[in-house]
Symmetry: C2
Subunit: 453 residues, 2 copies
């Protein structure tokens, strides 16, 4: 009996270890292929240098749609198509912010209107700036103190968070909501400190919103951290008047498209999605945000095709429209798969930049999360060790209530918010190997999901 | 009895968990201090922009010594001193490489002589280039085929390695030894492909050496990966003649110094070393290599002082002289502590760049390694998970035979060898938060070592 007892676990162990070995070898093949022959970096060069930034509703976005369509074809997709998405159209136009200290002369400050904000319709708004450090300080001000003023919120990124995304989340409410707070007390405009991990003078744009009961939609602009610190210091001792002139405004809606390509499943038609968002803000080149996620997703499909991996399920690359100022692409995609009753088993997004991959955020049942965590040792040689975060990409979140298991690539976060939503988010800020490693581990995860689910 | 049995582990567990909690709190204090008030980034700006590159024996190196001395004083060191180190002096001088394809005209190629190489003494060497991919191909050539030629070794970084240091190790022999191989067969010079993870046209310098029996010391130069690929392609079909002119040469020895500062131990005089190397190559600004390690080491001392952590052992920052072309600073330090019979319990170096920290290399007894590995969960919130590598810094390795436990900070490796030993290794390539996080985890590890050893 002893022999039999010993034999059984060894036999089962043998199956287990031979599985691990098979997966580990496939992981190497994927990694070797992408690190030595990956096209994501050159694809990103084309998207950023050839097209540049591509806000929803812009001519550049339309070019990007065509580019993504052709790239998916060239990568070997069995089918490629456009999905109609009505997107909001916001245009920046000319804008300027000047300040005058005491009785001095006006001088310009680098600024960007926040996305979706209304402007001054090309007229000058001139008003005294009042300064608050945070919402508590603002709430302590009476309507009389705020009325007719420009309110400056200088809430800084908390540098103590190890993951910069936490600091971004913490400070985000000032970008999203300060115009509504100040508008309700009669302010003429708000200026916020950019949501930035850096201390340079680069302003960051990004989405704001007016609350439903905002009777006046006051302009909201961001200035760089350096200007913000200087302005705070000046305001401690002197009166400062600002002159704001901007033309940004919402211009209704327009038809745009998410671009979708797939490798049809060899055994069933249930779908695994990998994606990023094709749109960007109207500054810089949208390289880390989110050109990186787009070219990585295309790389996944190309690699399955190139290595001739027989995918059981359909693997679908979705280049989502309009993440930045509406998430209409993500919402429409979830709506359509429900309408068409397309079974989706898994979706992953890359929208944290093409930095060295560190882990995966997992939003799914505890059982499924545990199964993915049980594969974690396979990822250790690739530097991916964090499987504990529970968040997923903005564009795929609308699928959550259909029970789709969701994930997000977690890249190293340290450099992202230095350049996020700025003129500095350019191709030069992306490192080739970091970008390709991100594509590698996403491909590896999808290989395991496709094989085991 | 049951109650007692249950009580005992809970009680012991209580002690254990309260220790972990204490350490975890101290980790937070260290992290908060460095991420919000750390000076390493501004220190690095001074060193790189104020002094710039600083090869051993240069006037800039002498400036850097004084700078480091003052910085250690300002950081709160109890004692700061210079340690005499005789260093080799190598000077580059003017240099150029031109190539002529077939009967065409000469055109310049970006190049750098390798460190410690002899030059052409200002005269032109003109010779046909012959190309080999690797040492095997070179070994297959007869003396007749090599004699009078310039040998071009185009051995590329292996992109398939996940850690770029492995690719650097793999390709390193071509930089170090190809001049000796080719010289023995009568070649006039060697050109190597730079040890680079990038595909740009940036040449990388770095140390080469002649073997003891080299009768002729032939010049060795590096060209960028792009030029290397182009040259290989041309050589497949056409004859190429090169004209090399360089003035680099060894100029004997000179007195220089490692710069040392310490916080004297409160309970005993045994020493914990943290360091980097103060010298750099004579191009760029020596920012990642190894200005980063220097300013991080100073940050460790500053943080202990600032947080008023009562260090049991002496914590000593060593800014080593001459790592790049001699390691004389490291050798002298090990020699001196042996002479003075100074007990050292631990030494750690940061010389992999100021990138996001990922782990620690550990060279020590299995028991000590296991003890450090048992602390690993404390480092997880800081993204540090790799405790398995077994290598340590070049400057501290000479202490190994005295039984000193050695370690090295392992930062993310993806970007380092794009810029290592080049004009591109500048302050702008260093990210503030990545640099400070590296300083944070080194301080945390030293806190644990100091407390527990």
């Amino acid at each position: 009996m002893k022999k039999i007892i010993l034999f059984l676990p060894l036999f089962l162990g043998g199956i287990f270890f031979s599985q691990v070995k098979t997966d580990s070898l496939q992981f190497s093949k994927i990694s070797d292929q992408i690190l030595s022959e990956g096209k994501a970096y050159e694809d990103l060069r084309e998207l950023t240098k050839g097209i540049g930034h591509r806000l929803s509703g812009s001519a550049a976005y339309t070019k990007a749609e065509k580019w993504a369509f052709d790239k998916l074809k060239a990568a070997g997709a069995d089918k490629v198509w456009y999905e109609d998405v009505m997107v909001p159209v916001w245009e920046r136009g000319k804008e300027s912010l000047q300040i005058k200290i005491g009785n001095g002369k006006y001088k310009s400050i680098k600024m960007l209107s926040l996305g979706n904000s209304e402007g001054t319709k090309g007229k000058n708004i001139e008003a005294e700036i009042i300064f608050v450090k945070n919402k508590n300080e603002f709430d302590a001000l009476s309507e009389e103190q705020v009325k007719g003023k420009i309110v400056f919120f200088n809430y800084a990124f908390n540098q103590k968070f190890i993951t910069t995304g936490q600091a971004y989340g913490d400070a985000g409410i000032y970008r999203r909501s300060s115009a509504s707070w100040a508008g309700k007390k009669g302010a003429k405009a708000v200026i916020i400190r950019s949501l930035s991990s850096a201390f340079d003078d680069v302003p960051h744009t990004g989405m704001m919103r007016y609350e439903a009961d905002d009777t006046t939609k006051i302009p909201a602009v961001a200035i760089g951290p350096k200007s913000a610190d200087e302005l705070e210091n000046i305001l401690k001792n002197q009166k400062v008047v600002a002159k704001l002139n901007s033309n940004c405004t919402m211009k209704g809606e327009q038809m745009a498209h998410s671009v979708i390509g797939e490798l049809t499943g060899k055994n069933d038609q249930s779908v695994i999605v990998v994606g990023g968002h094709l749109d960007s803000w109207d500054v810089g080149e949208g390289a880390q945000d989110d050109g990186a996620g787009i070219v990585q997703s295309i790389e996944v499909l190309r690699t399955f095709k190139k290595l001739n991996i027989q995918n059981n399920h359909t693997i679908r690359v979705v280049c989502f429209a309009n993440e930045e100022n509406g998430v209409k692409g993500g919402e429409k995609y979830a709506e359509n798969i429900k309408l068409k009753n397309e079974k989706h088993i898994f979706a992953i997004e890359s929208d944290g930049g093409g930095f060295t991959p560190r882990g995966f955020g997992l939003v799914m049942s505890p059982e499924k999360r545990k199964e993915i965590q049980s594969w974690s040792s396979l990822f250790v040689p690739y530097g991916v060790t964090n499987f504990n975060a529970q968040y997923a990409g903005t564009d795929i979140e609308p699928m959550e209530d259909q029970g789709v298991a969701l994930a997000e690539l977690i890249p190293d976060s340290q450099r992202y918010f230095d350049i996020h939503h700025t003129e500095e988010d350019t191709f030069e800020k992306v490192n080739r190997r970091e970008l390709l490693l991100g594509a590698t581990v996403v491909t590896q995860l999808i290989y395991l999901i496709d094989k085991n689910w």
